[in-house]
């Protein structure tokens, strides 16, 4: 009896399954395993990054060199005696205070003046270690530069009267009278939403004018930045009638204008240290205190 055909078919189908395994799935699995193993080994055995030369130089000299354009109060400005004041100055001083406590090395800040437009070039040329000068975050400038976490957002906020309990977002302002500084980012934002939300948009020459119009009931809301809001809501600028400031901000900025610190890309340790300070200051309220101190006073 010829059993060869069925036997051979059985053997061939088994051969086929084995062949698919050994010459299909198995090679792929081997390749994947090899790739995974290489990455794992590199990760495990890679030496820890060395502290960057910039950070080592700061420790060695006891000095953090900060590039600054001192023409932008309340972030930084110079008084008649040549002394620097502002939120950025306070932030830089706080950073070195924290690092001094951590390292046991007395660290100070040395300010290097530069025109704003030249700050990036000067940083890349190592004329200083970091830019702390109300610097806007620029996502397209990361080829040579690294940016810290933001320590301030200068974007436009919704400002309403303190008695307004209904407004939670800009959607709640549909059909309402909105005051903005002509040409500002608040103006840009309002125009984008104007068609859909039918804002009655009124433009003013300054953000303070827009906020004052809000205070006296000519507007239902204003889109201005925090600094303008803080300025108008200060006690010394309250109306002569003596009423307390009756405006408040709602929610997060409508459009972010993040203010950050910049370092060179070869200074990852310095960046890490800066970020650690900023995060800690946000968490424990020190940053909020700086806002109260510097962004509400002229």
């Amino acid at each position: 009896m010829r059993r060869g055909n069925s036997e051979q078919w059985t053997v061939n189908s088994k051969q086929s399954r084995v062949s698919r395994w050994r010459f299909g799935t198995l090679p792929l699995a081997i390749v994947a395993l090899i790739v995974f193993a290489v990455f794992a080994l590199v990760k495990i055995f890679a030496p820890p990054p060395k502290p960057d030369a910039t950070w080592l130089r700061v420790l060695d000299t006891g000095e953090l060199r900060v590039g600054i354009d001192p023409s932008f109060p309340p972030f930084e400005s110079e008084d008649a005696n040549g002394n620097l004041h502002g939120l950025d100055i306070a932030l830089a001083e706080e950073m070195t205070r924290v690092w001094s406590a951590e390292t046991g090395i007395a660290l100070g800040v040395h300010y290097v003046y530069s025109g704003f437009d030249g700050l990036f070039d000067a940083l890349i040329a190592s004329q200083f270690d970091a830019i702390i000068s109300a610097l806007p975050y620029d996502s397209k400038k990361t080829q040579d530069i690294r940016f810290s976490y933001a320590y301030f957002d200068g974007g436009p906020l919704i400002v309403v009267r303190a008695s307004d309990e209904k407004t939670k977002t800009h959607f709640d302002l549909e059909g309402k009278r909105i005051g903005v500084e002509l040409g500002s980012s608040g103006d840009s934002f309002a125009r984008k939403w104007q068609r859909r939300l039918k804002y009655d948009l009124q433009t003013f020459n300054t953000p303070a004018d827009a906020l004052r119009a809000l205070q006296i009931g000519q507007m239902d809301a204003a889109f201005t930045d925090y600094i303008a809001f803080a300025e108008v809501s200060r006690p010394s600028t309250r109306f002569a009638s003596g009423h307390a400031s009756d405006i408040k901000t709602i929610g997060a900025p409508l459009a972010s204008e993040l203010i950050v610190v910049a370092v060179r890309k070869d200074a990852p340790t310095l960046l890490e240290k800066i970020n650690a300070v900023i995060l800690a200051m946000k968490k424990d309220g020190r940053l909020a205190k700086l806002y109260d101190e510097w962004l509400s006073v002229h």
Partner: protein, 389 residues
Amino acid sequence: MGGQVRTGRPGDTATRRTFITAAPRRRLAASIIFNALKLTALGVLIYALAAPPPILVTLGAQQTVRATNPKLGIHTRLTDEPEEWKIKKTCELVRAMGSPWIVEYFPWGYIEDPEGWYDWTHADQVVDHARQQGLTVIARLGFTPTWARPKKTVTSYLDEAYYPYFASFVNAFVTHFKGRVKHIIIWNEPNLNFEWGYREVSPDEYARMLQAVYPAAKQADPEIQILAGALAPTLAPPGTLDAMNDLEYLQKMYDAGVRDYFDALAIHAYGWTRPADDPPDPSRINFRRAELAREIMVRNGDASKRAFITEGGWNDHPRWTKAVHPAERIQYTLRAYEICDTWDWLAACALWAFRYPFPAQSYLDYFTFVTPDFDPKPIYFEVQKYATR
């Protein structure tokens, strides 16, 4: 199985080397490579299928500009804009803003490189889309190609020996665009040394450039309007190495005999921190400094010639020392267009700049009316409101 198989013939127990045992290591390697190639091919196929198709851009229907101020213009910056749909969209937005005039830059080195070899593709796109939107193009010509200057010189370097080559290019440009472009500007800000190849600025040399270019352009099209000057407003004192006061330079151009070699004066009218109405004063840079340039034209017998503002305006960067507040920028810009409408010697007022193809990442971005992503700024809407009222 052991790699053995019976052949099926009774009694035949010979072991045969089968497929699965024949050179297993070689076959394993070949299989790995084959599977890797299969995966790669699959990936390429998926990418090709998922990638968006190229955009088909057409000129569209002929448009006209609805403008209450026929002199209103803007300097577009399509030189480095590679995508045709963005060129078209820019022109559409300019038309919608109510601006009949545009100034655009056509670099010599982009078009004629190598010598005698012309690529008009991009220039044609810009001009044709602009004309289809009803815009009038003023073409700025300059930018020396590498073959026309020594190594390690900049694109603004043009030796006098190569003026005939530049003239030849201008002739070719005017010929190619005859009927489509009726105004050309010769060079840019020659009173600044970095626009003059980092050489000492020379009104005499610029005059000789015009003397070489003018007949070549007219030979191609007798109706072409040749604009000269385009000087940078500067208060550089006499003897400054890197610049010459624009008013001094203009007078020296006339002294060098340039009067018969241009048809209109191109003026750069930046306001910096001063309002549009700030009175003209030789010791100040302001918008109405243009009137001082006009006075020089008249004094030198060119009262019948017109002028064009081909650059100018204000900047609203929050930190630049020459910037103003956004509201001021808008107010001064609108006032400038109003003033230009009253100057009967001025043909057009094209301010700087409509949009950059990509961010300049500096204060320069705050000259624009529209972002690189085609987001109109408030100034765009205010000019539109003014120009289409």
